[in-house]
Every structure is written in structure tokens, then in C-alpha cells.
Amino acid sequence: MLLNRVNSGGRWRIRPDGIGKVTGSLTYLTDMTAGSMLYGLVLRSEYPHASVISIQTDKAEKLPGVHAVLTYRDVPGLNAFGIAHPDQPVLCEDRVRYVGDALATVAAESIVIAQQALELIEVEYEVLGVLDDPERALHADAPLLHPKGNAMHRTTFTRGNVDEAFKQCAYIAEEIYYTPRQMHTYMETEGGLFVPEADGRLTVYSPTQHGFMDRMQLARILSVPQDHIRIISSPIGGSFGGKDELNVQPYGALLATKTGRAIKMHNSRQESVRAGLKRHPMRISMKTGVDEAGQLIAHRVSILADTGPYSTLGAEVLNFATEHVIGPYKYEHLDVEGISVFTNNGMSGEFRGFGGNQAIFALEGQMDRLAEQLGLSPWAFRKLNMRQSDDLGPFDQPIAMTEGAELVWSAIENSRLWQEQVRMKDRSAPKHSEPWIKTGIGAALTMHGAGLGVGIPDPAGGRLELAADGKIEAVFGYEEFGQGLLAALEQMLVEQFGFGASDIRMVIGDTDVVPDSGSTTASRATAMMWKSLQRMRKPFTDQLLKQASTILRCHPGELRIWEGGISLITEAQLLLTYEDLAKQTDVPIRSETSFSFPVSDTKRVGAHFMYTYSAVVVKVELNSLTGRVKVVEQQHAVAAGPVINPQGYLGQIEGGSSMALGFTLLEDAVMDKGHYMTRNLDTYLVPTIVDQQGIVEVEPIEHLPASDDYGPRGIGEVGSVTLAPAIAAAVRQASGKWVTKLPIDPAFLQEKPFFLTGE
């Protein structure tokens, strides 16, 4: 059944954070101000690669209205950050490795003065050669960007003997795929307010996807104990992975500490583009072979990722891509290698899909090419080679077994659009009234991992409490960046416990009060909240009912949780409000849980245990005169277990697929010799409503095996990873051309008009 408001009935709810968002009354962290605040700015490198000879700040310091000019000399602790491996300087000392590298940071009484101060800082550089090509960065004579060399991370995975196996293949597809430097383009750029408190602590109001990680990193930089820092990190105007790593926080924190004044920072879009993370551009070479009957025999993959100047989670992204170039198919012989390379280009890092987007575009492209060589339907070919529910995962690791792959495959096989594709046979089938408009239909399939994977601490948990004022407090260390975390949490508390929405107070994004529930990344938060609530439901409701029964002088078994308070099981009548319960009981009513995201029993670092399966079929119209592709219809099937919040689920798949549409057709943060050619949204084009006039249908498949107690799978990323290869397949049908490079260059698809060819 399609996911929409009508089919969802009463489960379609208005989000608890909705009113503040539609009326503009919600205060984002970049909206905040403080009475005597100063404005903070950062001086960034003029060059993609240079030695720094000297940094002179005297003139800037003397400018009236300037309160601090800080350089590397002023970093009390570790002058570096990076979630996995801190190798990015907070303030560069002797070398800059990209145009976003920070050299100094200033605090001043106005933005104008701060800007003038930046201009008065004199940096003497010795310009070095720019390594803007990851392949060249691996040459023996390339200068080393880091002591251990330019190969930031390598991966391999092998099975059997591909060289021998290719000799047995009847058909082989060999291709090189290229993917773009996509920008997150969260509408709220990085920023926040940094407030030194009277007790010597520092409060950081700044968006992040894991408050405790920011707290740890900032404590390390400031050289203070972690509990001297409080991170308040929600609400967030979009992140998509882009605010997972530190951005302006080190500068705000250093300036606030130094000046003793509140510091406001809010990046301009240009600065956000220049310094911020992007999706790893990848070159993925694949050689894949089948036997006469169409059975996959051998698959060889080589991934080359441009990780930019510093690590952040580049290694983890490569691990993820390595797993996902294998995907939901079975091969006897497998040889995968990946390398992620330091360059002087922009920072690459964590971004929704996390390396899956690139991998799946390439892998699904291979499936379509092989099917065509075999003369088989591309969908039938996938079925022939697809994993069965009890097969091991891509790295031969045990996984939570579901029938997800088969279920999404069947949903697409039976979809109206795929049936239309079967009838089309060839590209000329449906005659369009404008003969230069060509139609095509394509489909793709994926399994996408959730959680951080083997080898990375992945804590989860939360707390429920009856507060003194009678509110049911749900406290989690997760962040709300728009995905609808609060809506999902509220809906679970209402549906699974029986509370009314107005009984509940949700507390998130404040390290002083929340438990460390782990990061709000990797499609994990809703699943971990669900599991936490499952674990706390009985102990928490038992306590509520027990204390209520003492007050009401009855047996707890006669009572139940109800909207507004405790009621009799036998009739819907409120006997005791939560407020009265809180007032009359002297026993704290509280439940807390902590556990870990489930991991696979394997040593393979990064291997996943829980997967979401999705398949999508799309219809495109290609204007062969302009080379522009319009996506006119999309049908998504997503197997992710129970739908927790219908509106949020639909929004995640629609929104994720729009991001994928941009990845496929529009978006690339173009760089030239280490400089961004694109600086703002006039030259970096994301989809607008004009690009999204087509139909998008989402069919959630909720079925899970009876023994499965892992609950809902993540849906935050999966919408963004499957569309690109489906569009490429549709373009093949419409144009006869195989797309290998994203975003698709219209010039590649332009054809000489029929009235010029004389046909």
C-alpha cells in the first residue's frame, strides 16, 4: 500500500516541532544573540598548498573594536580535530593543505571590524605545487601531504580467483564510473553562539550530529575537562552528514575562552562552500563477468576516492563503499580494492549515503550492462543473481536476515512503471508528440547498511522519567536536523505506551542532561530510540502503575497508562493525572537503558549487521535537442521494517531521492587547481521545485521475519542511493547511451535534430 496521508489515517500526525517552523518562531542556534557578544570570523588560506613562513597579527590587534586575534600559538591543547583521526589543524602553523585551512581567528565588536581585522593579518606563504588529482598524488615523486604518505586508507576484499574466473565468462562488462563532488547544501550554514559562563564553563550552542563527540574534541583543543563544556546542538537547519565533524566550533570556543565574551559565528555561504565537507568524488573501475546462463562469476572493483587534505571519516566512507560495491549479489570470485587519497582539493567526508551512492551507481550500472549483453531483462537478471534471505552479507559476515531484497525486487517487478517498461521493448515505442523527446524507464536495487559497523563504538540508549511537574520526560542524546526525530519519538510514546502527546516533554541535544545515545548518523537514531523504548517500556510503566496503585489503593493490574494520566483498564476514565502522581509520590519514577547498536560477529572492520533494502523504478523524458533529462515518475519500494512515522518516512524517501536527483543530473562543486569554481548557489545548482514536478510514490514493505526483534531499519539514507543508476538505465533506454559520469552532461546526450540530419 502506498505511503500517503489518506492510507496512513490517524497515524499521519502533525510534527511537534511544526508550529515553530511554519511560524518562524523556532529559534535556531544561528539565530541566537547575547547582550555583549562579539562576532567571530576565520582567516582561511589563500592557496590550496603552501608553506606558511610567518603570520603577523599586530596590525589587526591594534584595530579599535578588535578583542582577539588568535593563531596556532593560542591553542592551549591539541591543535587538531577529526572524529576518527585528528589530523586537521585548528589553526595552521607552518603549512596549509587546502583553501579552507584556517590560519587565524578574530573576535570584534562588529562583523565589519572583524572583516577589516582579517584583512590586516599578514601571512607570508611559500606557494607549493598543488596535488589536485588523487591518481597523481599516489605517484612516487608526489610531495607528501602527511608523514605517512598520501594514501589515507586502503581496503581489499577477495574471494576465489577472479583472473581464472574471467577466462570462464561468456560475457564481461568493463567500465569506469565517475561521481561528483556533491555539496550537502544544508540551508542553514554553520554557526552558533559560544558563551563563557560565570562558573568558568563554556556553553556551545552550535549544530552537530553528536554533541558528546564535539564536547570531547573541544575539550581536547581547549585542554579542559569535558565537563567544563556544555554542547547544545538542536534544532538544526539541515545537516545530511555535513555538520557531523567540527566546523566553526573550535574558533568560537577559543575566542570565547580568550575574550570572556559571548561569540557569534555564522558562516557566509561562500565560507561554507570553501571550508565545508563534500561527498567524496570517486572513480570506480569495474569488470564483471557472467556465464552463458547469466550467473555472475567474477567481479573486480577498484575504487579511487579523493578525500581532500584531512581524514575526518574518509576511511570509514571508503570501508562503506567497499562493502556496497559488492552489494546484494552473489559472486564466486571477487576482488575489490579501494584507496582514499589525500589531495589539496576540498575536504571530503561524511554525507548521507556514506559512499553507498557512488558504489551503487557503479554496481547497478554493471548489472544493466550484463543483462543487455545477455539479452535478458535487467530485472530478471538481478533476480537470478540476487542474495537469498539466509545468505551472508557482502563481506561474508552474518547479518540480520530478512527477505528485504526479494520483497523490494517483487514490488518493482509488479509495479505499473516496470510493466510499462516491459511493454516498451525499445526506445521508439511510445511516440511523443514532440519527436525530440525520448522516453525511458530504468530500475535499480540496493541493500544499504545502518549503524557504524564492526570496530567502531556505537553506543545507544535513553531515559524516561516522570518529571516533578508531571511531564513524561523522554531524554535522548540525539539531534533534530529536520529528519523528524522528535516526531518519531513522540509517535512511539503515544502509540506504544498510550501517553497523550501533551503529556510528553522530549529532551535532546544538550550534553548536560542527556545520556550519550551515540551519534545521530548512519540511519541509526530511530531504530535505537525504538529499541530503547522497547527495553524501558515494562520497567517504566510498571513503576508508574505501582506508584499510582499505592495512591489509588488498588492493584496495579487494574490500571493502565492513558492520555493525561492513569486510568482503569476496564473503562476509559482518568483516575490520576501524571501531575498528581508526580506530586503525591516520593519515589523517583525513572528508567534508563544503554546498549550498543547490533553488530555482526566478524572481524571485518566496518561490516554491517542491519540493512535496509530498496528498489526504485523511474521514468525519464530526455530532450535530445537540449540533452536535458526530466524525471517524470518514480516508484520506490523500501523494506525497512515497521513504519514508525508515516509522514517522516515518506519525507525521508522523497527528500533523499531529490538529493540523488541532484547528484545524477545537476550537482558538482567544481574545482580547478585546488580552488572552488563554485562559491554559492548561483553556480551550484540543487533541485528546485521545477525539477521535482514528477510523481514520487513510496511503497513501504514492513514485513520482517517473526523472530526478528531489531524493529525498524534506518530510512534516512536509503532514499538517496538508488536513484542514480535507475536514471542512468532509463537514459540508456531513451538515448541508447551508457552514462558513466555524474552529473550527466547534457552535451553527452544532445543529438543533431532530425531536420538537420535529413532523416
Binding site: K21, T23, Q270, M659
Partner: protein, 166 residues
């Protein structure tokens, strides 16, 4: 906090109406309306995102027409009536806002005030727009979260709601 603000220092007294209230603001002629609204008047519902008129996050109504506050200077506002997102719900929540709530026409919410302002401008001048007219009117408002699905549904629903309210 844009790169070019405040470079002209000639003072300018701006008389205008903001959300129905007469205002006199001591500023400069070239100060961006976005800064006046957010920094001087502390109406932070109007958002800052690109500063070059490409994203629509700072959209406000000027005499009923949607304009980018980041591209509008103080002198251009003289005598005008400016409505920000805060003004739209002044007399209770607008049917457009109600439609966005019900249909899920927002996620992170950062583009939402500007989006709602653009929808308001459209429907006030054209109560029953075609799909192409809706697309054109909202083509200057970027939403990175929703993929516009919820926004389409919200606009359609708002058209209906307003129609039946008349």
C-alpha cells in the same frame, strides 16, 4: 553577517511599516533589509542562507510581493509595507501554514518561512494557480530536505482550504 554589509556609512532614516506597525529605523541607505529585520528588529523567522537572492530563505512580502530581503536595501523599503513570516500568523495561523503542518511541507524548517511567504504572495494574487504557475512562483525557494513532495501537497491543500474559507 555578509561580506559587504555596512560599507556605506551615510545615515538614513527609514520609515516603513513592518508587520503592520509603523517603524522608523536609523540605518544607512544601503543596509540590507535582511540585516534590519534579523539584527535590528530581531525578527529571526526570516532566514539567512545564500545572501545573493538564490535560495529564498529570506523572502518577505513588500506591498504583497515576495522579495528577497538579502537583495533589498533600506532605501527601497521607504514607505513600503513589509510582512515577515511573523506577520503572516499575526491574526492566527494562516491556512497556508496549517496546510504545511498537516501535509508535512517542511523538515528542518529553515527554508519554510521563505517558502510560506512565497506561497502567500502567489495565492493572494492568483488563488487557483496551475502547477506550472506554482512551480514558477516557488522556483526561487530552495528546500534541501523535502524533495518538494510535501510542499506540493501543502500548496494544493492550501488552495483548497482558502477556497472553502471564502
Amino acid at each position: 553577517m555578509s561580506d559587504h554589509e555596512g560599507q556605506s556609512s551615510t545615515s538614513f532614516a527609514l520609515h516603513c511599516f513592518i508587520n503592520g506597525e509603523e517603524q522608523t529605523l536609523e540605518t544607512t541607505a544601503a543596509t540590507r533589509m535582511l540585516n534590519l529585520i534579523r539584527d535590528e528588529l530581531e525578527l529571526t523567522g526570516t532566514k539567512r542562507s545564500c545572501d545573493i537572492g538564490r535560495c529564498g530563505a529570506c523572502m518577505v512580502l513588500m506591498d504583497g510581493i515576495a522579495v528577497n530581503a538579502c537583495l533589498t536595501m533600506a532605501y527601497q523599503c521607504a514607505g513600503k509595507s513589509i510582512t515577515t513570516i511573523e506577520g503572516i500568523a499575526k491574526n492566527g495561523i494562516d491556512p497556508i501554514q496549517q496546510a504545511f503542518l498537516e501535509e508535512g511541507g517542511f523538515q528542518c524548517g529553515y527554508c519554510t518561512p521563505g517558502m510560506i511567504v512565497s506561497v502567500k504572495a502567489l495565492l493572494e494574487s492568483n488563488p487557483e494557480p496551475s502547477d506550472d504557475e506554482i512551480a514558477e512562483a516557488l522556483s526561487g525557494n530552495i528546500c534541501r530536505c523535502t524533495g518538494y513532495g510535501g510542499i506540493w501537497r501543502a500548496v494544493k491543500s492550501a488552495i483548497k482550504m482558502r477556497g472553502s474559507n471564502r
